[in-house]
């Protein structure tokens, strides 16, 4: 169990963490979701005991990350946001090295990493620096897991990884969860939020919401529409200029807009046609975590 109380961290005048408090339960996948610069890495570094907070406390299975850092370092597996293995050592040498410094062997905990490691085992003689992004992350996860940690701290493990490998990576996290490992994971990909048991939406050093992904989506109380036209960039400003449109954001090939309840789809269709758009497609949609994040960011 991770207990965080009033954690505060500043760099000069910049506040990275603003009196954060939260709890992560045993055997839970807890996702910290937020854009770059929201304070995820600072939080994870403090929890991994490699950074000191200005004030506040964090406990992991009863051990303080500040005072008991020596013990903490035996029970956590930490994977920093940057690829942090030795590029000039081979896959196997890296794994062996990390196994040894955690006073264990590859054989002892092979069952834990088996599923992941098997995928990169054909390349075990290859230098880590020559691996693809996805394989690097799988190796890094193997190295972070080799000593069977009680808590796994993964800072943006899927950033820069292709969609297939990302999916595989999350499947592995689920399997690790079933081994009883508590997993704290951060990501900038909102679509990964649904894969966590609970998520915290983070912005500018604050958690703006902490709940299960479903509860966060359920708490969304706006009317959400998806709009597609033949000229997406022009329609973005036209939609924003409509008096009854509250917010409008580009979401891939659609615009997600929130509107006042009294604006009907046909009214909006009419409005866009008048603006000169010939192909207009509008439909009501269910919100995603990203919509919730946007809504929370805009109406604090």
């Amino acid at each position: 169990m991770i207990l965080v109380k009033n954690l505060h961290k500043t760099y000069g005048k910049v506040t990275a963490l603003n009196n954060l408090s939260f709890t992560v339960n045993d055997g839970e996948i807890f996702g910290v979701i937020g854009p770059d610069g929201s304070g995820k890495t600072s939080l994870f570094r403090i929890l991994a005991s490699v950074l000191l907070p200005n004030s506040g406390s964090a406990e992991m299975n009863g051990l303080s990350v500040s005072k008991d850092f020596k013990k903490i370092r035996n029970i956590i597996g930490y994977m920093p946001g940057r690829f942090s293995l030795y590029q000039d050592l081979s896959v196997e040498e890296n794994l062996k090295f990390f196994a040894t410094i955690f006073s264990t062997t590859i054989e002892e905990n092979y069952h834990l990493i088996k599923d992941i490691y098997q995928q990169i085992e054909p390349f075990k003689k290859r230098r880590a620096g020559a691996l693809s992004g996805g394989m690097k992350q799988k190796l890094a996860l193997s190295c972070a897991l080799i000593h069977k940690p009680e808590v796994l701290i993964l800072d943006e493990p899927t950033t820069g990884v292709d969609p297939v490998s990302r999916k595989e990576f999350w499947d592995m996290l689920k399997r690790l969860k079933s081994e009883g490992i508590t997993i704290l994971v951060s990501t900038a990909y909102m679509d990964e939020a649904g894969l966590c048991d609970r998520i915290a939406l983070m912005r500018e050093g604050n958690f703006i919401a902490t709940d299960t992904p479903q509860n966060i989506i359920n708490s969304y109380n706006e009317t959400l529409l998806a709009v597609q036209t033949e000229n997406m960039s022009a329609s973005l400003s036209d939609l924003r200029n409509h008096p009854k449109v509250k917010t409008c954001f580009a979401f891939g090939n659609q615009h997600h807009i929130t509107v006042h309840a009294d604006l009907s789809i046909s009214d909006l269709q009419h409005y866009l046609n008048e603006k000169g758009y010939s192909t207009v497609e509008i439909k009501a949609i269910e919100p995603t975590v990203e919509d919730c994040f946007m809504a929370l960011t805009n109406n604090p």
Binding site: R45, A48, S49, V50, L51, L52, F69, K70, R73, N74, I76, Y78, M79, P80, R82, F83, S84, L85, Y86, Q87, D88, L89, E93, K96, F97, F98, T100, I101, F102, S103, C143
Partner: protein, 368 residues
């Protein structure tokens, strides 16, 4: 212990797999010894010489022969006019011209005086002076012999005795210097770079979050460089004894003992630098400017410390290489025993204690 060994093994992998760096580390002492030994030489050799001898008598011929026979001089030819000398000097074809006066022998017998002119190319003043001194030395020798056979009652002998380095061989000065420089470069610079590289590449973050102790990391970093510098030490000693003919006059054991002490000193300097900086570039700059330059300029390797202005002499006393070079000179060149290097030894040991203390105080268990 297992962790420590695994770490040392990893360090060796880093070094062995970086072929270029490896080549530089092992090749550097060889190149430096050969460079200082043969190219950047304070001795002047192969002096291109011409002689203008209008007298052509017994004595001038004897003197000319002596000069021609000297190993520093390359006798080019006899010339017959000053114009030719001027032309050759201007074209840079000769380094020195020796001119006898007419009736050299007769003047010497009758007036006890004869004139000889040495014209050197002093566009490089150092070389010019040295060449002139060589010629005067040869003539002085000849004169002494003549005086002996002629049994003249009064003779003044000015004897310039050069102890320990009778031939004024510069190898005697720079071999200890290069030993100091190479050990400093490899131990201090490479150790600090290799630690700072872990910080820069982010691997330090993972190491910090592991149960590995900080000092284990630091100490294991030094082992491979300790080995490398020992190899280099042996290379330098072999090269200087067998290629440069600089013998080890004193005790080899004592020499190696001082060197190992100095290696520890350099390693602890490297550790201190690595605890203080965060990027490889800064580490190189600090060790390059802060360690190499003083080791080159203030250690007495190139410029004698006694000739420095007082403030620089004071500054030189905090340059570790100075004490090492001085100790090596005493043991290796002068053949002195341990009693004569007590001062050097105590300064070096004092510096080690200070630096290790400072590094330990500086070691961090966390980032930043």
């Amino acid at each position: 212990m297992k962790q420590f060994l695994a770490f040392v093994k990893k360090e060796f992998y880093h070094i062995l797999r970086d072929g270029r760096t490896m080549l530089i580390l092992l090749g550097m002492p060889i190149v430096q010894i050969l460079l200082f030994g043969f190219a950047i030489n304070m001795e002047v050799q192969n002096i291109r010489t011409v002689i203008f001898d209008p007298a052509q008598d017994a004595i001038t011929t004897q003197i000319s022969r002596r000069i021609a026979a000297n190993r520093y001089f390359n006798m080019n030819k006899y010339v017959s006019s000053f114009d030719e000398i001027n032309r050759l000097l201007q074209q840079g074809e000769i380094d020195v011209a020796i001119v006898y006066e007419q009736n050299f022998n007769e003047n010497l017998i009758h007036t006890k005086k004869a004139q000889l002119q040495i014209i050197t190319d002093a566009s490089n003043p150092n070389t010019g002076t040295i060449v002139a001194n060589y010629v005067m030395a040869i003539i002085g020798d000849y004169q002494k012999e003549m005086l002996r056979t002629n049994s003249i009652p009064y003779q003044i002998n000015i004897e310039n005795k050069l102890l320990y380095n009778p031939e004024m061989r510069s190898a005697y000065t720079f071999v200890p210097g290069i030993m100091g420089l190479v050990l400093l470069v490899i131990c201090a610079i490479m150790t600090s770079i290799s630690i700072v590289r872990e910080k820069e590449r982010g691997t330090m973050e993972v190491l910090l979050a592991s149960p590995l102790k900080s000092w284990t990391v630091l100490i294991s970093k030094t082992i491979p460089y300790l080995t490398l510098s020992f190899v280099n030490l042996i290379t330098i000693l072999l090269l200087s004894v067998y290629i440069l003919n600089v013998p080890i006059q004193g005790s080899l054991v004592l020499l190696i003992f001082i060197s190992v002490l100095f290696i520890f000193l350099a390693l602890s300097l490297g550790l201190l630098i690595s605890t203080a900086v965060d990027t490889q570039v800064v580490a190189v700059l600090i060790s390059g400017i802060g360690l190499m330059m003083p080791a080159l300029i203030l250690s007495g390797m190139i410029f004698p410390i006694e000739n420095m202005p007082l403030p620089l002499q004071w500054a030189s006393s905090i340059v570790p290489a100075r004490w090492y070079i001085s100790a090596v000179k005493k043991v290796m060149i002068e053949g002195l025993g341990v009693a004569h290097i007590i001062k050097e030894l105590s300064v070096i040991i004092g510096m080690i204690i200070f630096l290790i203390g400072a590094s330990i105080a500086n070691i961090k268990n966390r980032l930043a």
